[in-house]
Symmetry: C2
């Protein structure tokens, strides 16, 4: 790093928070994708005024800055592609308060999501967003990506819980939006504009999150299917039943085979799909709805339909789903894991198309995900050392995206665009809308220092 820049950033960050050590530069080069790029320096965020000073210095110096939570993102959002500084937010991990009277939590962005869930539960309250990485991802990262997770069918996504925030702009100006109010229509909705903006508009320094009462009871129902189309139609039958499930998760046959060889749960090899449906609420409803769901799944061809009313039994039914992420990675050395969404009524068509595309390219495309939201994780598996496979894998992804768009769908439901989907954004977004987004970026970050080359395709402003 340029000595003048080093000096200015050390002064702004505090020398003890500034590192150019090669281990740090390597550790902060990654997120949970395979993309990586070394930053020039790593700064540990220590508070709002320090963040403000660091940002002002970065803007003055034209040094890119990438805010980073736990680095568990699946779209390359925290990878510092333009070098510069990674701002590590994970040390700002204080739960400032859980307020049962106001039914809100005030947290620093580095709080691990599971810690917020636990702190809320300790007061009888409930923080619903539940991404798969809940044990290590941060609330700030969840807000930056508008993370979804398992309970979005009934409870919505991270956006639906952000009531207010404080943030620092690229030039160092600090501002607050919203508050602890459940309704607020004063001014434009900057709060929700920042949700999902992937660290490209501002650095969030504090969050006020809505909490709900804890549901009294839960149940889980699972079923296997010998036919993929049957399973897809069963999802639609569940959603048309009038029951609003907490989760409605799907895994295809390729996922089940991978899970079976990974953890050995005794899943039958002929199973072509599994559904896991959760409900929560008052105990008498949960019991009745679980029975109703079991009947719906059986009526639609579900086999080995199981109902779990106790947490331990439910956890057993969830074991296959929890193992699927790591399990699919054993199928081939590399993965292009996508996160597409289609309108609910088009899930059947999407599932069929993904399987056709996999067969045509001779590649496994294990598919699982949040069927109740129309949000599927499509995992194209390939060997990157084989150029033909590599090419086929990328072609398969393009073909999946084309199908998704032709069905009125979208390219990411919860992982974000980051770096991974940047090349496809132009195909999804209206060109006028994209121009407006570029205008928003210029308004919030005229020098273009905040997480460059992410979320929306350039022209990037940074030289």
């Amino acid at each position: 790093m340029d000595p003048a820049a080093r000096q200015a950033l050390q002064a702004a960050a505090g020398a003890e928070n500034f590192s150019e050590a090669s281990t740090d530069r390597l550790l902060y080069a990654y997120d949970a994708t395979t993309s990586w790029h070394r930053p020039e320096a790593v700064i540990r965020a220590a508070g709002t005024s320090q963040i403000s000073a660091v940002l002002a210095a970065c803007t003055a110096l034209r040094v890119p800055l990438v805010p980073r939570g736990a680095g568990s993102g699946l779209s390359g959002g925290a990878v510092p592609m333009a070098g510069g500084v990674v701002l590590d937010m994970s040390g700002l991990n204080r739960i400032i308060k859980i307020d049962p009277a106001d039914q809100v939590a005030v947290v620093q962005p580095g709080v691990v999501t599971a810690r917020l869930q636990e702190a809320a539960a300790a007061q009888g309250l409930f923080y619903p967003p539940d991404p798969a990485s809940v044990g290590f991802c941060t609330v700030g990262g969840n807000v930056a990506e508008n993370a979804g997770g398992l309970r979005a069918v009934k409870y919505g996504v991270t956006r639906d819980y952000v009531l207010g925030l404080s943030a620092a702009l690229a030039d160092g100006r600090v501002f607050t939006t919203g508050g602890a109010n459940f309704k607020d229509v004063v001014g434009y909705d900057l709060t929700r504009l920042l949700v999902g903006s992937e660290g490209t508009l501002a650095v969030i320094t504090e969050l006020t999150m809505r909490l709900l009462p804890q549901p009294e009871a839960k149940a889980t129902v699972s079923a296997l299917f010998l036919d993929l189309g049957q399973a897809a139609r069963a999802v639609q039958a569940v959603l048309a039943s009038g029951i609003i499930p907490t989760a409605c998760e799907f895994m295809d046959g390729a996922c089940l085979k991978a899970v079976e060889s990974y953890v050995g749960l005794g899943l039958p090899p002929q199973a072509e799909a599994m559904l896991i449906v959760d409900v929560d609420g008052p105990p008498e409803v949960v019991r009745r709805q679980a029975q109703d769901l079991a009947r719906i799944l059986r009526d639609r061809g579900g086999q080995q339909v199981q109902v779990a009313l106790e947490p331990a039994e439910a956890e057993a039914l969830w074991r296959a789903r929890r193992a699927v992420g790591p399990a699919v990675r054993t199928i081939a050395p590399s993965i292009l894991n996508e996160d597409v969404v289609v309108p609910l009524g088009r899930l059947v068509t999407l599932m069929a198309a993904v399987h056709r595309i996999g067969a045509e390219h001779g590649l496994p495309i294990p598919t699982f995900g949040h069927a109740g939201d129309g949000n599927l994780h499509v995992n194209v598996m390939y060997d990157p050392s084989d150029p033909a496979q590599s090419q086929a894998a990328h072609r398969a992804v393009s073909e999946v995206f084309a199908v998704v768009l032709s069905l009125g769908g979208t390219l990411s439901g919860e992982h974000g665009v980051g770096l991974a989907k940047l090349g496809y954004v132009g195909a999804r977004l209206d060109p006028v809308a994209l121009e407006l987004m570029r205008g928003l970026k210029r308004l919030f970050d005229p020098a273009g220092i905040l997480n460059p080359h992410k979320a929306i395709p350039g022209p990037d402003i940074l030289p």
Copy 2:
């Protein structure tokens, strides 16, 4: 109107959709507030390409344009304060589709909200937002103001149902955002930026709204209280009970007296507050929760606690609440009706402060509203022909706002800023956030033609 402007606007709008008739200019001078200002012309919106042409002409001519739904707004949002053109959207009232498989509705913005509710219900689906004006307000107006209504405690506000939209910018460019997908994190969230933007950023031409399954059953519980503080604490007990009510409505003694003299329901004169709590869901839960709520209300001092499980009985309990809007207007010739929100835990303090302020100024301030959201309608009643009362009324509003802000509250929960609260926005919003909002306005509408002098305080761009 200047002849050249008239000619250009007639050409853009179609002569049959353009009127300068004095009756039209008078009819479109109003919304549901007492503010009014005559437009120079009224244009009936006839479709996207016509709206686009009209907007382009207005930008070229620097003629202000105010989009208007039903004119039922309570903040002056549709009053054409800068003259120019009112664009009447009410003719674009087609429900393009109700799609049970996708669980969405696609509508033109002029659809009356109750029509959308009915069309959804006809397919077993549910459009939850339920503003008091549901029978005549439009979905587009609801989106422009981010309308709330009676069911927001459980089901959220209009924003939570907007999945995608088409809109025209001030320069005539048309764009779409979102779609029929339940999750979508591609690009910045322009959809929700437009929600609540009060017609100042773009003219919405089509909306895709999420629908839910119809709840199976409903119940209503009501109670009277001899003490205001008791009622306020009962609200908090309800919200802390773990039950998420559909509605949790409050009326104070002044409201009850007004209702009694207006419709004569036999409400006892010594009642200082009434609560009406709705629950919905599966019938067995609704029954149990209604009994639980009745017990909670009784334990907290509720009198004449009534439980209605049948729609007709429930409607009888709701009669007082439905009459309160017109009833309070009989108390005095004029009204300053505010729409404040505080964090849930501060409702008791707010209610006490409002009553103190009313007593100090010698003015009735009947207060009712959506206590379950912390959102109260505070109605300062006065005689505008008495200058002292007029002054006292405006002072009382300022004092209420000061209390609300000191409690961390906000100045509007569902009516919007419009014109009515423009002078107070600076006290609520962070100055940096306000600067960003002005930048957003310039980005979307550089000439400042769209609904000038609304939503955020100037400097307005229009000369």
